[in-house]
């Protein structure tokens, strides 16, 4: 009601000041509410993805390069990777079957799933059976303490080796 009354009158200097003050308050409320809303949205979005779960860590050390002599293919079953070393080059191939998640065993020709018969070649490419995709390769790093570290969070293109 007072608004209409004031709109009719020509604003005096005092009323002008009041308008400025009112505009400022409106701005303050607006920034406060909208800002809070934006921060809330961001918080919630960040919150959706947990920063830590209680699963086994996905980056883990597997030992020194000397423990994998050239030409070996050593499966680490509890970590579900196979370490392949050829000469100075070393890589980690997943041993989790891309079909139903069985642990594939290293075989003469590569890998074979004991349950559903999927077969993979030495590089993890599908050569038979129901598996839809080749076995992923994981990033291997040389940790500062001289141990090899497999990072299952990072997949690398097949054929990527690190030199040790």
């Amino acid at each position: 009601m007072s608004m209409t009354k004031k709109a009719i009158h020509k604003p005096t200097a005092a009323e002008d000041e009041l308008t400025t003050r009112r505009r400022f308050l409106t701005w303050l409320s607006g920034v406060g509410l909208v800002g809070s809303a934006i921060i809330s949205i961001f918080s919630n979005l960040i919150f959706i993805k947990p920063r830590a779960t209680y699963g086994e860590p996905n980056r883990f050390p597997i030992g020194r390069p000397e423990e994998f002599p050239p030409g070996t293919r050593i499966s680490i079953d509890d970590k579900r990777v196979c370490i392949v070393r050829e000469g100075n080059r070393l890589a980690a191939i997943s041993t989790t079957c891309t079909h139903l998640g069985c642990i594939v065993a290293a075989s003469e020709t590569g890998f074979a799933c004991p349950c559903h018969g999927s077969r993979f070649d030495q590089d993890g490419n599908v050569t038979g059976g129901p598996a839809p995709k080749p076995l992923p390769w994981y990033q291997v790093n040389l940790a500062p303490n001289g141990e090899l570290e497999v990072d299952k969070d990072t997949e690398v293109p097949p054929g990527t080796y690190i030199t040790v």
Binding site: L25, L33, A52, P57
Partner: protein
Amino acid sequence: MRVALAISSFVALIIHGIVFYDQFFHQWEDHQTAYFEQARGLATKDAERAALEGRRPRIEQIIVTQFGEARVDRCTTCHIAIDDPRFKAHAEPLRTHPNSEALGDTFVNGRWERRHKFSDFGCTVCHDGQGRGLETFYAHGEDHFWPEPLLGYTTQETWRAEFKPKLLGKEFMQANCAQCHTEENFKSTPLVSRGRQLFFEKNCYGCHRIEGMSTGTLGPDLTEVGKKFKLDYLWESIVEPRANSAVSSMPKFNLSDEDVKSLVVFLKSRRGMNFAETSLERYRARIRESKVEPATQPTTEVAGVSAAARGERLINERACAACHKIGDRDGGIAPDLSFEGLLRDESWLMDHFRDPRSRVPDSIMPAFGFSDSEFLSMTQYLKSLTTPPPTATPAEAYKNLCARCHGEKGDGHGLIALYLDPYPRDLTKVAFMNSKPEERFIMSIKEGVPGTSMPAWGKVLNDAQIRDLLNYIWQTFVREPRRELKARNVPAHNPVAMSGESVARGERIYLQRCTGCHGRKADGKGPNSLDILPRPRNLRNRDFINSVSDRRLFDAIMYGVQGTAMPPWIDYGLSQNDVGDLVNYLRSLNQTN
């Protein structure tokens, strides 16, 4: 209204902002960022640079499943350089964990190989601390009420200030090494070994039980003490036994700080289940416990030193004066040994040493597992203490011989009365004092009371002195003239012949009439016993019962014991034959095999 809305919405924004910042900007991210930057600078090889490529701050965690419950260790989130040898000289938290032989690390081909890999052991297995915490306050457990603060590095606000400097140091970590390395004298845990040695040397094992190690029952069970208490509490309990329980009877041992530290570390390592133990091994240890021989010091005979001198040394070393009075040292718990040579003979002393309860059935003295030759030396020494205390006047005699148990006021509340069972007689109880013939008191003083701590003072005082002492007691404490005793119809000998039927009848009467106070086991610990002073007799105190005549038993049962809760059972319908059966039952309980 507008002003309020504007201000509140702006305040909401600020609070939101603070919460957002607090929740999503962490100190550990700064630590990790700093680490990545410095590591990049330190990297010399392409491989090292490649390893750092793509690494962003994130919560690092190690899940350790081998040691008890699965542990989540997020310590490496802040201590990210823990296994990076390039960060040796950096400040915490970006610092390499030191390598040392003591940790089992080996130095091969110019570099250290860790024995305990962080990916297998985590951090809290050794250090304690709250593995899940991501802020110093939470992770290090700097809260008095949290179970496991960082071992030996953190001191609490509420800890006693004078202990603070003593409780810091990595030596305390040895307590956790001993969680797996349980072998005695493990070379990396000298403090645990020293503490264990002290545990036996200072006779802690006499009172305290540690499963598989000792069987004492006098003090608290220490099997899981390391799990329950923190370093400060353990330290305090050792240096000030009465800090936590005002009635604690644990002596003050006046140990050096180094010894206390060893004991604290040893006790902290006692956590019941060890990581390295299987339940089968634990079961075996429990079975073994019944046969375990407490570790004794090697008995080395010192040439040219007499047995008594060796005994004196042993008695000093083993801190007997922590409980007993010997000369001017007084532990205030157990009887005076200053003139023990006058009171006890050798066989009594030896029996009492080997098993105190063989002579005083309710004694709280632990059966210390020393060797017989040591007991013999100590007996020889005690036998040599034959200087009687001054007893020129009856008052002096009372003060020097009686007051320690019966009290200055004769009310039975002497210095050590609390630790004696049976409790010393209250000499101010007129009803009792007047109900017994004078001869009985004379005999008690002169011959002692078998099965109790009352010694035979006839070996120190002559008959006249005993009579004077009794008169003194009467004048000072009873303060009433002797009353004439009413003649009582009590048989001198049990008229009921000892037989199986009589014992069975006696048992039936006992169960009906006596168990309320004397207990079903006749050990004086019936349900009513707690409310009664003096406590009901332990009727299985063999030495005592066997020393008491039939006449006295009949007298006590039929006419009651004045000044105690024992009623005259003749008033409740027990015939003389019933009492005879009861006496037979009691005698049968205490027959020597």
